[in-house]
Subunit: 199 residues, 2 copies
Amino acid sequence: MAEELDRRAQILDAAFEEFAAKGFKGATIKSIAGTARLQSPALIYWYFPDKEALFREVLSSRIPVVRAVADPTPLLDLPPEELLPRIGRAYFAFEQLDTRTLRLVVGEAVRRPEVAEMFVKSGPGKVLDFLKTYLEHQVELGRLRPHDVRSSARAFMGMLIPQLAGRLFLPTLTEDGLTDEEHLKTSVNVFLSGLRPDS
Amino acid sequence: MAEELDRRAQILDAAFEEFAAKGFKGATIKSIAGTARLQSPALIYWYFPDKEALFREVLSSRIPVVRAVADPTPLLDLPPEELLPRIGRAYFAFEQLDTRTLRLVVGEAVRRPEVAEMFVKSGPGKVLDFLKTYLEHQVELGRLRPHDVRSSARAFMGMLIPQLAGRLFLPTLTEDGLTDEEHLKTSVNVFLSGLRPDS
DNA sequence: TAGCCTCGATTGAACGTTCTGTCAAGAGAG
DNA sequence: CTCTCTTGACAGAACGTTCAATCGAGGCTA
Protein backbone atom coordinates (compact mmCIF):
# COMPACT_ATOMS: atom_id res chain seq x y z
CA MET A 1 0.00 0.00 0.00
CA ALA A 2 1.56 3.17 1.27
CA GLU A 3 4.64 2.43 3.27
CA GLU A 4 7.01 0.85 0.88
CA LEU A 5 8.92 3.92 1.93
CA ASP A 6 10.71 2.27 4.78
CA ARG A 7 10.65 -1.47 4.64
CA ARG A 8 12.78 -1.69 7.73
CA ALA A 9 10.31 0.23 9.86
CA GLN A 10 7.46 -1.74 8.35
CA ILE A 11 9.10 -5.00 9.40
CA LEU A 12 9.93 -3.65 12.84
CA ASP A 13 6.31 -2.64 13.38
CA ALA A 14 5.02 -6.03 12.35
CA ALA A 15 7.64 -7.80 14.44
CA PHE A 16 6.61 -5.74 17.43
CA GLU A 17 2.96 -6.74 16.99
CA GLU A 18 3.82 -10.38 16.65
CA PHE A 19 6.37 -10.58 19.45
CA ALA A 20 4.02 -8.74 21.79
CA ALA A 21 1.09 -10.98 20.95
CA LYS A 22 2.86 -14.35 20.87
CA GLY A 23 6.26 -13.93 22.48
CA PHE A 24 9.66 -14.55 20.93
CA LYS A 25 9.15 -18.27 20.45
CA GLY A 26 5.51 -17.98 19.49
CA ALA A 27 6.00 -15.40 16.77
CA THR A 28 7.43 -16.77 13.54
CA ILE A 29 9.33 -15.16 10.69
CA LYS A 30 6.46 -16.15 8.44
CA SER A 31 3.78 -14.60 10.63
CA ILE A 32 5.82 -11.42 10.93
CA ALA A 33 6.18 -11.28 7.16
CA GLY A 34 2.45 -11.82 6.90
CA THR A 35 1.63 -9.00 9.29
CA ALA A 36 4.06 -6.76 7.41
CA ARG A 37 2.30 -7.79 4.16
CA LEU A 38 5.55 -8.95 2.62
CA GLN A 39 5.34 -11.25 -0.34
CA SER A 40 8.15 -13.36 1.05
CA PRO A 41 9.55 -13.96 4.53
CA ALA A 42 13.00 -14.05 2.99
CA LEU A 43 12.94 -10.30 2.68
CA ILE A 44 13.29 -10.01 6.45
CA TYR A 45 16.76 -11.48 6.15
CA TRP A 46 17.82 -8.70 3.85
CA TYR A 47 17.28 -6.20 6.65
CA PHE A 48 18.09 -8.30 9.71
CA PRO A 49 20.66 -11.04 10.14
CA ASP A 50 18.37 -13.33 12.12
CA LYS A 51 15.29 -13.55 14.30
CA GLU A 52 17.23 -12.82 17.47
CA ALA A 53 18.66 -9.58 16.07
CA LEU A 54 15.22 -8.54 14.87
CA PHE A 55 13.91 -9.12 18.37
CA ARG A 56 16.67 -7.05 19.94
CA GLU A 57 16.01 -4.19 17.55
CA VAL A 58 12.31 -4.31 18.31
CA LEU A 59 13.09 -4.17 22.01
CA SER A 60 15.49 -1.26 21.86
CA SER A 61 13.27 0.65 19.46
CA ARG A 62 10.12 0.13 21.48
CA ILE A 63 11.13 0.15 25.12
CA PRO A 64 10.06 3.58 26.19
CA VAL A 65 12.20 5.92 28.13
CA VAL A 66 10.37 7.50 31.01
CA ARG A 67 10.23 11.19 30.24
CA ALA A 68 8.41 12.32 33.35
CA VAL A 69 11.65 12.28 35.30
CA ALA A 70 14.02 12.97 32.43
CA ASP A 71 15.27 16.18 33.99
CA PRO A 72 14.61 15.80 37.70
CA THR A 73 16.20 18.95 39.10
CA PRO A 74 13.28 21.34 38.62
CA LEU A 75 10.96 18.76 40.18
CA LEU A 76 12.89 18.35 43.40
CA ASP A 77 11.31 21.32 45.16
CA LEU A 78 7.73 20.63 44.20
CA PRO A 79 5.62 19.73 47.23
CA PRO A 80 4.73 16.04 47.40
CA GLU A 81 1.02 16.78 47.18
CA GLU A 82 1.70 18.01 43.70
CA LEU A 83 4.52 15.81 42.50
CA LEU A 84 3.29 12.37 43.55
CA PRO A 85 -0.03 12.59 41.68
CA ARG A 86 1.93 13.79 38.68
CA ILE A 87 4.20 10.77 38.78
CA GLY A 88 1.20 8.57 39.33
CA ARG A 89 -0.64 9.91 36.32
CA ALA A 90 2.38 9.53 34.08
CA TYR A 91 2.45 5.99 35.39
CA PHE A 92 -1.15 5.31 34.51
CA ALA A 93 -1.11 7.16 31.24
CA PHE A 94 1.84 5.37 29.77
CA GLU A 95 1.72 7.52 26.70
CA GLN A 96 3.96 5.18 24.82
CA LEU A 97 4.26 2.22 27.15
CA ASP A 98 1.00 0.61 26.12
CA THR A 99 -0.33 -2.82 26.87
CA ARG A 100 1.46 -4.46 23.98
CA THR A 101 4.84 -3.14 24.99
CA LEU A 102 4.38 -4.21 28.56
CA ARG A 103 3.18 -7.61 27.46
CA LEU A 104 6.23 -7.98 25.27
CA VAL A 105 8.69 -6.86 27.89
CA VAL A 106 7.24 -8.59 30.91
CA GLY A 107 6.62 -11.81 29.06
CA GLU A 108 10.25 -12.07 28.06
CA ALA A 109 11.82 -10.42 31.10
CA VAL A 110 10.80 -13.22 33.43
CA ARG A 111 13.08 -15.55 31.50
CA ARG A 112 15.71 -13.29 29.95
CA PRO A 113 17.77 -11.32 32.42
CA GLU A 114 19.07 -8.92 29.75
CA VAL A 115 15.51 -7.94 28.92
CA ALA A 116 14.72 -7.55 32.59
CA GLU A 117 17.66 -5.26 33.08
CA MET A 118 16.92 -3.25 29.95
CA PHE A 119 13.37 -2.79 31.19
CA VAL A 120 14.33 -1.74 34.69
CA LYS A 121 16.94 0.68 33.48
CA SER A 122 14.64 2.28 30.96
CA GLY A 123 11.76 2.95 33.30
CA PRO A 124 11.08 1.63 36.78
CA GLY A 125 14.70 1.98 37.83
CA LYS A 126 14.80 5.61 36.84
CA VAL A 127 11.53 6.41 38.53
CA LEU A 128 12.71 4.63 41.64
CA ASP A 129 16.02 6.47 41.70
CA PHE A 130 14.30 9.77 41.16
CA LEU A 131 11.82 9.07 43.92
CA LYS A 132 14.59 8.20 46.35
CA THR A 133 16.38 11.45 45.60
CA TYR A 134 13.18 13.42 45.75
CA LEU A 135 11.94 11.91 48.99
CA GLU A 136 15.33 12.35 50.62
CA HIS A 137 15.24 16.00 49.61
CA GLN A 138 11.74 16.42 51.00
CA VAL A 139 12.87 14.93 54.28
CA GLU A 140 15.70 17.45 54.40
CA LEU A 141 13.21 20.22 53.72
CA GLY A 142 11.22 19.01 56.70
CA ARG A 143 8.15 18.29 54.61
CA LEU A 144 8.35 14.59 55.38
CA ARG A 145 9.47 12.87 58.52
CA PRO A 146 12.81 11.04 58.49
CA HIS A 147 12.58 7.48 57.25
CA ASP A 148 14.21 5.01 54.86
CA VAL A 149 13.53 6.47 51.44
CA ARG A 150 14.64 3.29 49.67
CA SER A 151 11.59 1.70 51.18
CA SER A 152 9.11 4.54 50.72
CA ALA A 153 10.11 4.98 47.08
CA ARG A 154 9.38 1.30 46.44
CA ALA A 155 6.20 1.56 48.44
CA PHE A 156 4.82 4.47 46.47
CA MET A 157 5.61 2.92 43.12
CA GLY A 158 4.14 -0.36 44.28
CA MET A 159 0.89 1.07 45.58
CA LEU A 160 -0.19 1.78 42.04
CA ILE A 161 0.87 -1.53 40.53
CA PRO A 162 -2.13 -3.72 41.35
CA GLN A 163 -4.44 -1.19 39.76
CA LEU A 164 -2.28 -1.00 36.67
CA ALA A 165 -1.79 -4.75 36.45
CA GLY A 166 -5.51 -5.16 36.80
CA ARG A 167 -6.20 -2.90 33.88
CA LEU A 168 -3.56 -4.47 31.70
CA PHE A 169 -3.40 -8.18 32.39
CA LEU A 170 -5.51 -9.24 35.31
CA PRO A 171 -8.96 -7.71 34.89
CA THR A 172 -10.29 -9.95 37.65
CA LEU A 173 -8.22 -7.90 40.06
CA THR A 174 -10.08 -4.66 39.38
CA GLU A 175 -13.63 -5.91 39.10
CA ASP A 176 -14.71 -3.77 42.04
CA GLY A 177 -14.85 -0.73 39.80
CA LEU A 178 -12.29 1.48 41.49
CA THR A 179 -11.03 4.04 39.00
CA ASP A 180 -7.39 4.96 38.44
CA GLU A 181 -7.92 8.49 39.68
CA GLU A 182 -9.73 7.37 42.84
CA HIS A 183 -7.01 4.89 43.61
CA LEU A 184 -4.29 7.44 42.97
CA LYS A 185 -5.95 9.96 45.24
CA THR A 186 -6.39 7.56 48.13
CA SER A 187 -2.90 6.15 47.72
CA VAL A 188 -1.21 9.54 47.73
CA ASN A 189 -3.32 10.51 50.68
CA VAL A 190 -2.40 7.45 52.74
CA PHE A 191 1.25 7.70 51.72
CA LEU A 192 1.59 11.35 52.64
CA SER A 193 -0.40 11.09 55.85
CA GLY A 194 1.90 8.28 56.83
CA LEU A 195 4.99 10.38 56.23
CA ARG A 196 3.86 13.69 57.70
CA PRO A 197 6.53 15.27 59.90
CA ASP A 198 4.31 15.27 62.99
CA SER A 199 3.30 11.63 62.82
CA MET B 1 16.80 -44.85 39.39
CA ALA B 2 14.28 -44.59 42.16
CA GLU B 3 11.05 -43.13 40.91
CA GLU B 4 9.73 -45.54 38.38
CA LEU B 5 7.00 -45.61 41.00
CA ASP B 6 4.88 -42.86 39.54
CA ARG B 7 5.74 -42.03 36.00
CA ARG B 8 2.96 -39.50 35.78
CA ALA B 9 4.30 -37.42 38.65
CA GLN B 10 7.79 -37.77 37.27
CA ILE B 11 6.67 -36.31 33.94
CA LEU B 12 4.70 -33.56 35.64
CA ASP B 13 7.75 -32.54 37.65
CA ALA B 14 9.94 -32.42 34.59
CA ALA B 15 7.31 -30.54 32.61
CA PHE B 16 7.06 -28.00 35.39
CA GLU B 17 10.82 -27.42 35.33
CA GLU B 18 10.87 -27.03 31.58
CA PHE B 19 7.77 -24.86 31.24
CA ALA B 20 8.98 -22.60 34.03
CA ALA B 21 12.42 -22.24 32.53
CA LYS B 22 11.49 -21.88 28.86
CA GLY B 23 7.78 -21.15 28.65
CA PHE B 24 5.11 -23.18 26.89
CA LYS B 25 6.49 -22.63 23.42
CA GLY B 26 10.11 -22.84 24.47
CA ALA B 27 9.83 -26.15 26.26
CA THR B 28 9.65 -29.15 23.96
CA ILE B 29 8.23 -32.61 24.46
CA LYS B 30 11.71 -33.92 23.86
CA SER B 31 13.34 -31.66 26.46
CA ILE B 32 10.66 -32.60 28.98
CA ALA B 33 11.28 -36.27 28.29
CA GLY B 34 14.98 -35.63 28.73
CA THR B 35 14.52 -33.91 32.06
CA ALA B 36 12.27 -36.74 33.20
CA ARG B 37 14.98 -39.19 32.04
CA LEU B 38 12.61 -41.02 29.76
CA GLN B 39 14.06 -43.15 27.01
CA SER B 40 11.48 -41.89 24.57
CA PRO B 41 9.31 -38.77 24.33
CA ALA B 42 6.50 -40.96 23.08
CA LEU B 43 5.91 -42.18 26.59
CA ILE B 44 4.52 -38.79 27.52
CA TYR B 45 1.59 -39.48 25.23
CA TRP B 46 0.68 -42.56 27.18
CA TYR B 47 -0.09 -40.35 30.18
CA PHE B 48 -1.23 -37.10 28.55
CA PRO B 49 -3.20 -36.55 25.35
CA ASP B 50 -1.04 -33.66 24.15
CA LYS B 51 1.34 -30.88 25.15
CA GLU B 52 -1.48 -28.47 25.92
CA ALA B 53 -3.13 -30.88 28.35
CA LEU B 54 0.20 -31.53 30.02
CA PHE B 55 0.65 -27.81 30.46
CA ARG B 56 -2.80 -27.41 32.00
CA GLU B 57 -2.13 -30.22 34.42
CA VAL B 58 1.17 -28.69 35.43
CA LEU B 59 -0.57 -25.39 36.06
CA SER B 60 -3.39 -26.74 38.15
CA SER B 61 -1.08 -29.01 40.10
CA ARG B 62 1.46 -26.28 40.79
CA ILE B 63 -0.45 -23.05 41.22
CA PRO B 64 -0.41 -22.59 44.94
CA VAL B 65 -3.42 -21.75 47.00
CA VAL B 66 -2.75 -19.01 49.47
CA ARG B 67 -3.18 -20.56 52.89
CA ALA B 68 -2.48 -17.49 54.96
CA VAL B 69 -6.05 -16.29 54.49
CA ALA B 70 -7.69 -19.67 54.02
CA ASP B 71 -9.92 -19.19 57.03
CA PRO B 72 -10.17 -15.43 57.50
CA THR B 73 -12.67 -15.17 60.34
CA PRO B 74 -10.27 -15.60 63.28
CA LEU B 75 -7.96 -13.04 61.70
CA LEU B 76 -10.52 -10.27 61.42
CA ASP B 77 -10.08 -8.99 64.93
CA LEU B 78 -6.30 -9.01 65.03
CA PRO B 79 -4.87 -5.50 65.25
CA PRO B 80 -3.33 -4.27 62.00
CA GLU B 81 0.08 -3.90 63.61
CA GLU B 82 0.06 -7.64 63.99
CA LEU B 83 -1.85 -8.84 60.95
CA LEU B 84 -0.25 -6.77 58.19
CA PRO B 85 3.32 -7.91 58.90
CA ARG B 86 2.00 -11.44 59.01
CA ILE B 87 0.43 -11.10 55.57
CA GLY B 88 3.58 -9.44 54.34
CA ARG B 89 5.80 -12.23 55.53
CA ALA B 90 3.59 -14.89 53.99
CA TYR B 91 3.91 -12.82 50.86
CA PHE B 92 7.69 -12.78 50.96
CA ALA B 93 8.08 -16.32 52.15
CA PHE B 94 6.04 -17.92 49.44
CA GLU B 95 6.54 -21.31 50.95
CA GLN B 96 5.31 -23.00 47.81
CA LEU B 97 5.08 -20.15 45.35
CA ASP B 98 8.75 -20.09 44.48
CA THR B 99 10.54 -18.30 41.70
CA ARG B 100 9.95 -21.01 39.15
CA THR B 101 6.23 -21.09 39.71
CA LEU B 102 5.96 -17.34 39.48
CA ARG B 103 8.08 -17.32 36.36
CA LEU B 104 5.85 -19.93 34.80
CA VAL B 105 2.61 -18.22 35.71
CA VAL B 106 3.57 -14.62 35.01
CA GLY B 107 5.29 -15.49 31.77
CA GLU B 108 2.19 -17.14 30.41
CA ALA B 109 -0.42 -14.98 32.11
CA VAL B 110 0.51 -11.88 30.12
CA ARG B 111 -0.65 -13.63 26.98
CA ARG B 112 -3.18 -16.19 28.18
CA PRO B 113 -6.20 -14.75 29.96
CA GLU B 114 -7.21 -18.12 31.42
CA VAL B 115 -3.83 -18.40 33.11
CA ALA B 116 -4.13 -14.82 34.35
CA GLU B 117 -7.52 -15.52 35.84
CA MET B 118 -6.41 -18.80 37.39
CA PHE B 119 -3.49 -17.01 38.97
CA VAL B 120 -5.52 -14.12 40.35
CA LYS B 121 -8.19 -16.41 41.77
CA SER B 122 -5.68 -18.69 43.40
CA GLY B 123 -3.71 -16.01 45.20
CA PRO B 124 -3.70 -12.25 44.76
CA GLY B 125 -7.45 -12.08 44.37
CA LYS B 126 -8.03 -13.92 47.62
CA VAL B 127 -5.54 -11.81 49.51
CA LEU B 128 -7.10 -8.67 48.09
CA ASP B 129 -10.61 -9.73 49.01
CA PHE B 130 -9.52 -10.66 52.49
CA LEU B 131 -7.73 -7.36 52.94
CA LYS B 132 -10.79 -5.42 51.86
CA THR B 133 -12.96 -7.26 54.35
CA TYR B 134 -10.36 -6.94 57.07
CA LEU B 135 -9.70 -3.24 56.56
CA GLU B 136 -13.43 -2.50 56.40
CA HIS B 137 -13.82 -4.30 59.70
CA GLN B 138 -10.94 -2.37 61.25
CA VAL B 139 -12.55 0.88 60.13
CA GLU B 140 -15.76 -0.18 61.83
CA LEU B 141 -13.81 -0.97 64.98
CA GLY B 142 -12.43 2.54 64.88
CA ARG B 143 -8.85 1.35 64.60
CA LEU B 144 -8.46 2.90 61.17
CA ARG B 145 -9.97 6.09 59.82
CA PRO B 146 -12.75 5.80 57.22
CA HIS B 147 -11.51 5.49 53.66
CA ASP B 148 -11.95 3.50 50.48
CA VAL B 149 -10.71 0.03 51.42
CA ARG B 150 -10.67 -1.12 47.80
CA SER B 151 -7.85 1.31 47.33
CA SER B 152 -5.96 0.70 50.56
CA ALA B 153 -6.08 -3.06 50.07
CA ARG B 154 -4.48 -2.65 46.64
CA ALA B 155 -2.02 -0.17 48.06
CA PHE B 156 -0.81 -2.45 50.82
CA MET B 157 -0.41 -5.42 48.52
CA GLY B 158 1.36 -3.25 46.01
CA MET B 159 3.83 -1.68 48.41
CA LEU B 160 5.59 -5.00 48.73
CA ILE B 161 5.65 -5.87 45.03
CA PRO B 162 8.73 -3.95 43.87
CA GLN B 163 10.81 -5.60 46.57
CA LEU B 164 9.50 -9.02 45.64
CA ALA B 165 9.86 -8.44 41.91
CA GLY B 166 13.38 -7.24 42.53
CA ARG B 167 14.29 -10.42 44.34
CA LEU B 168 12.68 -12.66 41.77
CA PHE B 169 13.12 -11.16 38.32
CA LEU B 170 14.59 -7.70 38.40
CA PRO B 171 17.64 -7.75 40.65
CA THR B 172 18.66 -4.34 39.38
CA LEU B 173 15.66 -2.96 41.23
CA THR B 174 16.92 -3.99 44.64
CA GLU B 175 20.59 -3.24 44.32
CA ASP B 176 20.46 -0.72 47.14
CA GLY B 177 20.52 -3.53 49.65
CA LEU B 178 17.23 -2.98 51.41
CA THR B 179 16.15 -6.21 53.08
CA ASP B 180 12.68 -7.70 52.93
CA GLU B 181 12.15 -7.24 56.63
CA GLU B 182 13.27 -3.60 56.62
CA HIS B 183 11.00 -2.83 53.71
CA LEU B 184 8.09 -4.61 55.31
CA LYS B 185 8.56 -2.71 58.56
CA THR B 186 8.73 0.71 56.90
CA SER B 187 5.81 -0.07 54.60
CA VAL B 188 3.53 -1.21 57.40
CA ASN B 189 4.57 1.81 59.40
CA VAL B 190 3.80 4.28 56.62
CA PHE B 191 0.57 2.52 55.75
CA LEU B 192 -0.73 2.46 59.30
CA SER B 193 0.41 5.99 60.14
CA GLY B 194 -1.46 7.09 57.06
CA LEU B 195 -4.64 5.42 58.16
CA ARG B 196 -4.63 6.26 61.88
CA PRO B 197 -8.04 7.42 63.09
CA ASP B 198 -6.73 10.80 64.26
CA SER B 199 -4.99 11.71 61.01
C1' DT C 1 5.78 -77.10 36.46
C1' DA C 2 5.41 -75.74 31.74
C1' DG C 3 3.29 -73.40 28.22
C1' DC C 4 0.21 -69.78 26.65
C1' DC C 5 -2.33 -65.52 26.94
C1' DT C 6 -3.43 -60.89 28.56
C1' DC C 7 -2.49 -56.30 29.42
C1' DG C 8 -0.40 -52.03 30.96
C1' DA C 9 3.84 -49.87 30.04
C1' DT C 10 7.60 -48.69 27.03
C1' DT C 11 10.29 -48.25 22.92
C1' DG C 12 12.44 -46.62 18.41
C1' DA C 13 11.16 -45.41 14.07
C1' DA C 14 8.55 -42.69 11.32
C1' DC C 15 4.90 -39.26 9.94
C1' DG C 16 3.54 -34.74 8.28
C1' DT C 17 4.15 -30.13 9.46
C1' DT C 18 6.49 -26.04 10.58
C1' DC C 19 10.46 -23.67 11.67
C1' DT C 20 14.71 -20.65 10.55
C1' DG C 21 17.75 -19.48 7.30
C1' DT C 22 19.90 -19.77 2.26
C1' DC C 23 20.20 -19.12 -2.58
C1' DA C 24 20.01 -18.01 -7.33
C1' DA C 25 17.34 -15.51 -10.20
C1' DG C 26 15.03 -11.44 -11.33
C1' DA C 27 12.82 -6.47 -11.11
C1' DG C 28 13.45 -1.63 -11.15
C1' DA C 29 15.93 2.67 -10.84
C1' DG C 30 19.76 5.51 -12.05
C1' DC D 1 25.22 -2.06 -16.87
C1' DT D 2 25.17 -1.82 -11.98
C1' DC D 3 23.46 -1.78 -7.62
C1' DT D 4 19.72 -2.23 -4.36
C1' DC D 5 15.87 -4.60 -3.30
C1' DT D 6 12.58 -8.47 -3.87
C1' DT D 7 11.06 -13.00 -4.98
C1' DG D 8 9.77 -18.16 -4.87
C1' DA D 9 11.84 -22.28 -4.13
C1' DC D 10 14.22 -24.91 -1.11
C1' DA D 11 17.48 -27.15 2.36
C1' DG D 12 18.01 -28.87 6.92
C1' DA D 13 16.59 -29.20 11.39
C1' DA D 14 13.20 -29.47 14.93
C1' DC D 15 8.61 -29.75 16.11
C1' DG D 16 4.34 -32.52 18.04
C1' DT D 17 2.32 -36.67 17.38
C1' DT D 18 1.28 -41.57 15.83
C1' DC D 19 2.24 -46.33 15.37
C1' DA D 20 3.49 -51.06 15.37
C1' DA D 21 6.34 -53.79 17.92
C1' DT D 22 8.05 -55.27 22.30
C1' DC D 23 8.69 -56.00 27.16
C1' DG D 24 7.76 -58.09 31.72
C1' DA D 25 4.67 -59.36 35.27
C1' DG D 26 0.64 -61.97 36.38
C1' DG D 27 -3.16 -65.27 35.54
C1' DC D 28 -5.07 -69.40 33.27
C1' DT D 29 -4.92 -74.11 31.65
C1' DA D 30 -3.04 -78.61 31.26
